[in-house]
C-alpha cells in the first residue's frame, strides 16, 4: 500500500485513540485498559495470515504458537473485561 496512505491512517488513528478515551473516569481505568488489551489480540488475524503462507516447519510452528497466544489474549481479554463490567450492572442510577 502507498506509504502516504499508511502514514495518514496511522496519524488519524492516533488522534482518534487520544480523543475517544480523553474523558474516562478513574472508575473505568481498569476495564478500559483490559478492553484495549483485548483489542490488540486482533494480532490473531496476522498470526493466521503468516500461518497460511508459512513454508517451513519452523515458520509453521512459530505461527501456531502465535495463534495460541493471540487467541488467549483476544478471547480471554474480552471475557475478563465483561466479567469486570458485569459487576457494575444494576448499580447505575
Amino acid at each position: 500500500m502507498e506509504p502516504m496512505a499508511i502514514l495518514s491512517i496511522f496519524v488519524l488513528a492516533i488522534f482518534v485513540g487520544f480523543e475517544v478515551v480523553s474523558k474516562v473516569s478513574s472508575t473505568l481505568h481498569t476495564p478500559l485498559m483490559s478492553g484495549a488489551n483485548a483489542i490488540h489480540g486482533v494480532i490473531l488475524v496476522g498470526a493466521i495470515i503468516v500461518a497460511d503462507h508459512s513454508e517451513t516447519n519452523l515458520e509453521l510452528g512459530l505461527s501456531i504458537a502465535a495463534i495460541i497466544l493471540a487467541t488467549i489474549n483476544m478471547v480471554g481479554g474480552f471475557v475478563v473485561t465483561d466479567r469486570m463490567l458485569e459487576m457494575f450492572k444494576g448499580n447505575k442510577k
Partner: protein, 463 residues
Amino acid sequence: MSRTLYDLIGLAAGVAFILALKGLSHPKTARRGNLIGAFGATLATLVVFFYANPGSSLPLNHLGFILGAIAIGLLVGVPAARKVQMTQMPQLVALFNGVGGGAAALVAIVEYLHLGAEATTAEVIFTVFTVIVGCVSFSGSIITFMKLQELMTTRPVIFPAGRFIIAATLVSVIGVGGWVVNALGTAPLLILAGLSLLFGILFVLPVGGADVPIVISLLNAFTGLTVAASGYVLDSVLLIIAGTLVGASGTILTRKMAEAMGRSLFGTLFGAFTAKAQDSSGAAEDRPVKSGSPDDVAILLNYARRVVIVPGFGLAVAQAQHTVRELADLMISKGIDVAYGIHPVAGRMPGHMNVLLAEANVPYDQLLEMDEVNPTFGQTDVAIVIGANDVVNPAAQTTPGCPIYGMPILEVNNAANIIFLKRSMRPGFAGIENELLYDPKTMLLFGDAKASLTKVVSALKAL
C-alpha cells in the same frame, strides 16, 4: 471473496474498535462497548479465513493446525478469564497483554523468515521494532504478573550498577537491531529477541509495587504499537488501525493513571535508570501502637454520627466486600451516616475497589471519590481503613523524597478517630512505614479483614 469486500469488512471491524473504546469510557455504555469490540474482533478473525492474502485459495493452508491452535487458545483463555478471582484480575490482564506482545513478536519473526532477502528495508525496520517491543512487553508483563501474584518481591529490585546494566542492555538491543537491518539473517534476529526479553525483565524489576499498574498500562500501549507495525508488514489496514488505537489510547490512559497517583510518567518510565536504594527508617517497628478488640471498635462505631469506610487491597484479599456491606447497612439502620472513600488507585489497579464493592451491590451513591470525600473527613467521627495503607499514608504529603511523595491521599488523618483493620504491622505495597499507625487517635484491629469485620458486626448487633 474480493479484496474490496475483505477490506470493507476490515474497516467495519476498525470502526467497531473505535466504538468499543468510546463505549468503555462511560459507565453506562461500557459493557456494550466491550461486546462491540468482541464482535469486531470475531468478524475480523472469521473474514480472514475467506481471504488470507491475494492469490491464496480456499481453504487456508494448514487449516487444521490453525483451527487446532485457536481451539487450544480458547481452552486456555476462556476458563482462565472465567474462573479468576476479583483479586487476581490485574495480573491476569498483565498476562494477557504479555502473550499478545509475544504473539506480535512471533508473527514478526515468522514474516521475517518468510520474506528472507525479499524484505524491503522499511519492512525489516518495522519487523525489528515489533520483535524488540513485543519481546519487552512479553517478558515485562511476566515480571509484573509475578510481582502482583507475589511470586516475587513487590518491592523495587535494585542491584548494584543496575542502571548501567540496563543502559548497556538497551544500547545492545538498539545495536543488534541496526545489525539486523543491515546484515539480515536469522541468527541476529534471534539474538535481538533474546536481548529484548532480557531488557523487558530489567526494565520492570526496579519498578515498585505501587507503580506496577502504570507499567501494565504502558506495556499494553506498547503491544498496540507492535500490532500496528505488524499491520504495515502484513499489509493489513485493520491491524494498523487497531494497533494504533490501542497504542494511542493506552498512552493517554497511562498518563491519566500516573496523574491519579501523582507520579510523573517520565519518572515511572525511566525509574529504572534513576532508581537508588531508599534509606528505610528502621526502629519504627518497636514503637507502641494501640490495638483494640472488635468490641472496642463496635462501641466506637455505635456512638459515631458519620463513618467513612476506606477499603484497600486487604479487603479484596479477604473477599470481605459482602461483610463490609453488612456492616455499613447495620450502621445505616442505626442512623449513622456512612460513606465509602474510594482512592482511585486503592487495591492493585485503578477502579479495583469500585468493581469489588459493586460486586457486593453497594449502592453507587455511597461510593465517594477522593475529591468528594476528603473535605468531609473533618466532620467524620470514625474512619475505618480496611486493608489499605499507602493511599492514606500522610508521608505522601509530609515527607519529600519518600517513594509515594506527591501522591494524592485520602486524608483520614483529619477524622476524629481512625480504625485500621490490618493483618500485621507489615507496611503497604509500596513498602513505606505509615506514621498514622502510631497516632494516638488510631486503633488497630489485627486479623483477616473478613473475620475481623464479622466480629465487629456481631458485636455491634449486640449493642
